[in-house]
């Protein structure tokens, strides 16, 4: 090394904290981006969507086939016909509230048709059976079915008997853009959708951080990193590398989604009944809401990632890492439920708690951005979340140095403190 270089090294004998984190972040970012794991990460969200779609479709099919909403008609032939005519008359006005009516063939041929016995013998596939006359109809069925269909059957029978008008005046329509009730309802939908998206993304990504740390333990490279730079810089570098990877992933998903929407928006609207172009606007407006979504996503990810890194720090083996991450995943799920539950309870103690508790804070605050216009609270929450990230990183790296870099088992056993259990050293010596 030349004298000038030597002088430079002595003048600046170490990397700064952020330079050190940058070296780790750059390596991890490139390594993950060009790995097969990233490909799986990209296609990862397709699986829940696919499985969800299939499950929904199958569920609907099963439900359609298994759950009968047909009511059997066991009145006189004339009454049956009148009932079905009345049902058809009312259907445009009452739609889904009207049952499907079917004449029971057996009732016409059996002279002493007993509706109760018919159902108890489990004949046919009727939810309930309507007997009696138009002036005195009777619904035979289970209590639930009777409660459900008594009203509509009464209306149909009355219509069939001419007790109500057979024609209805045309109702003219005047549409307003929104109302207080509609706004609140729409914003709740936006908040729920944003929270769900945030939750899925953070879980997916934080798991990647954990895998990355486990990989480094397996590769035994972690000691080289720990010897060269402060451990918290290693943690920070890893977290931000994965955050960068996640932004690339989100950008790819976003572009693909936008492309798919451009090509097949009509089909999407037809299938899902949702027009993404007309999603209900959040309270803070779309531009700020999107910006806050990105920031809260980053915070949620950094918090969970730091927690997972801490778990990695506490564990000595890959198996321990996997075991210990399970309760945290469950806790994160509960935190998500908490934040989701408080959407409809603004100003409650529970909402305040979910805002203050670092792990639920990003979720609760994102929901708040959808529901309320106040901005200063976001600045305060972000500062608090950033502080929590720093504390978690610091705590995790300290634990890592204390627990993982153990060595030397041949020394004398210390006298255990009176309150501590006697345990033997489990780490291999050197």
């Amino acid at each position: 090394m030349s004298h000038s270089n030597q002088a430079a090294v002595h003048a600046n004998p170490r990397l700064s904290y952020f330079e050190a984190a940058w070296v780790v972040a750059r390596r991890d970012f490139i390594a993950v981006l060009f790995s097969r794991a990233f490909l799986f990460f990209l296609i990862g969200p397709l699986f829940p969507v696919l499985v969800g779609g299939l499950a929904g479709s199958i569920g609907n099919q099963v439900s359609r086939e298994a759950v009968s909403v047909e009511l059997g008609l066991a009145m006189s032939a004339a009454d049956n016909a009148a009932m079905m005519d009345a049902r058809d008359t009312l259907r445009p006005q009452l739609g889904g509230a009207m049952p499907v009516l079917r004449e029971i063939p057996e009732a016409q041929v059996e002279t002493n048709f007993d509706a109760r016995a018919f159902l108890e013998q489990k004949r046919g596939n009727y939810a309930a059976i309507v007997t009696g006359t138009l002036s005195s109809p009777e619904v035979v069925g289970t209590e639930g079915q009777i409660n459900r269909w008594s009203g509509p059957i009464g209306v149909i029978a009355a219509t069939a008997g001419g007790a109500v008008p057979t024609s209805f005046p045309e109702v003219s329509k005047q549409t307003v853009a929104s109302s207080a009730s509609a706004d609140r309802s729409n914003r709740i939908k936006t908040a729920q959708a944003a929270q769900m998206l945030l939750f899925l993304l953070t879980m997916l990504l934080a798991g990647m951080v954990l895998s990355n740390l486990v990989e480094e333990k397996a590769n035994k490279i972690i000691e080289i990193l720990a010897a060269a730079i402060p451990m918290d810089a290693v943690f920070l570098g890893k977290l931000f590398a994965m955050l960068g990877v996640s932004f690339v992933g989100i950008a790819v998903w976003g572009l693909l989604g936008w492309g798919a929407w451009s090509i097949a928006s009509d089909a999407f609207i037809q299938v899902t009944g949702t027009d993404l172009g007309n999603l209900p606007a959040p309270a803070v407006g779309w531009p700020l809401f999107i910006a806050l979504s990105i920031i809260y996503f980053s915070m949620a990810y950094l918090l969970l990632g730091a927690l997972f890194l801490t778990i990695g720090a506490m564990a000595s083996t890959v198996r321990e890492v996997q075991t210990m991450s399970m309760p945290v995943t469950m806790m994160q799920l509960m935190v998500f439920f908490l934040a989701a539950y408080t959407i409809t309870q603004p100003g409650s103690a529970l909402e305040t708690f979910s805002i203050v508790f670092p792990l639920s804070s990003p979720f609760a605050m994102l929901a708040r951005a959808a529901m309320q216009e106040t901005l200063w609270v976001h600045a305060a929450a972000l500062l608090w979340q950033a502080l929590a990230v720093m504390l978690l990183v610091k705590g995790g790296s300290t634990l890592f140095r204390k627990r993982v870099m153990k060595s030397g088992g041949a020394g004398a056993e210390k006298k255990p403190r009176f309150w501590s259990r006697k345990t033997s050293a489990t780490e291999p010596a050197e």
Binding site: P13, A31, K220, I221, G408, G409, G411, A429, E430
Partner: protein, 328 residues
């Protein structure tokens, strides 16, 4: 503290005016209920080759990790080039851990550059130097190959080059000879000597005495987490008096009374410790008593004898078992 020779060169310390690269006093570290290291004292001058010698599990790695700041001691102080926190001078240090680790998917040249970058070397410069180093060590052809495609020996060399690429002033090697064949061990010894010739301080841990004996100016003997000796190799050897081997024509005579008390006869030879007064007075008595001296040789104790003497037979047996386990 059982150390009588606390400074690096022991009795020669007064004449050694080199500044200290490493200084440690009373380092203590425990994990859970196990005391891994208890009261380690070291002083390594700049430019020295220093060995930390002891059996597996003695606390060598823990000591090195404390010196490097990977873990902090529970008690005691450590200073590297005068800094309490070694991370403050990360660019001056190179470290090869015992558990070798590299990213399997990384190319050799990138692995070296990355390790340099961790120590503050720009990536481009790291690649340039890495290429030169690989070529100098006959691994130029492996520069663009992934680590997973290299043999174990080649991967170890790549990691060692990564340890040196930023031209550190202090190189810390944890069991560097472990897993190397005889040829590569020889290469590594030459590399360590070359580093010291360039003024680099090298400290390495080992459980193989002959590496320490051949390379080191100073050693710390560590056993059971304690350091019963830290000082120059010469002073350690001097802990045991030199042995004299005497062959005489006459088997009996009055001159035998002049032999030291510990003298014993084995075949044609007498063996005894070198007297404090030297051999000259004894020689005069043997000549006057017409013993007929056929040969006389003085053999200094080796580091192995010194280790047995200082650390005890149990530690020595463990050391030999470790060596047998390694095939060394």
């Amino acid at each position: 503290m059982a150390v009588s020779d606390q400074t690096f060169l022991g009795n020669d310390a007064a004449s050694d005016i080199r500044p200290l690269a490493i200084e440690a006093r009373g380092l203590v570290k425990s994990f859970d209920n196990t005391l891994a290291v208890s009261g380690v004292d070291l002083a390594v001058p700049e430019g020295a080759i220093y060995g930390v010698l002891g059996p597996n599990g003695a606390g060598k790695t823990t000591t090195l990790r404390m010196l490097l700041g990977i873990i902090d001691p529970d008690e005691g102080v450590r200073r590297v080039f005068g800094y309490d926190q070694p991370h403050e001078i990360g660019r001056l240090i190179g470290y090869l851990p015992e558990e070798r680790g590299l990213y399997p998917a990384m190319k050799s040249i990138e692995a070296i550059a990355f390790m340099g970058a961790l120590r503050g070397l720009p990536l481009d410069e790291g690649r340039k130097r890495g290429k030169e180093l690989l070529e100098r060590h006959d691994l130029g052809h492996a520069a663009e190959r992934q680590i997973r495609q290299l043999s174990k020996g080649m991967a170890q060399t790549v990691q060692l080059l990564g340890t040196l690429v930023h031209e550190p002033r202090l190189v810390v090697l944890d069991e560097p000879f472990s897993g190397l064949d005889a040829i590569n061990q020889g290469k590594l010894e030459r590399m360590i000597r070359a580093l010291a010739d360039d003024g680099v301080t090298v400290i390495f841990s080992t459980h193989v005495i002959h590496h320490a004996e051949r390379l080191c100016e100073g050693v710390a003997i560590i056993a059971g987490g304690k350091v019963p000796y830290a000082g120059s190799v010469e002073t350690a050897r001097d802990r045991i008096p030199a042995q004299v081997r005497l062959e005489t024509r006459a088997r009996e005579g009055g001159w035998t009374a002049a032999l030291p008390d510990d003298a014993r006869r084995e075949g044609d030879f007498f063996y005894f410790s070198l007297p404090d007064t030297g051999v000259e007075p004894l020689l005069r008595t043997l000549i006057e008593g017409e013993a007929g001296i056929l040969s006389l040789s003085i053999e200094r104790a080796g580091l192995h004898d010194a280790f047995v003497h200082i650390a005890g037979e149990a530690a020595a047996r463990q050391l030999e078992a470790d060596n047998a386990g390694d095939g060394q």
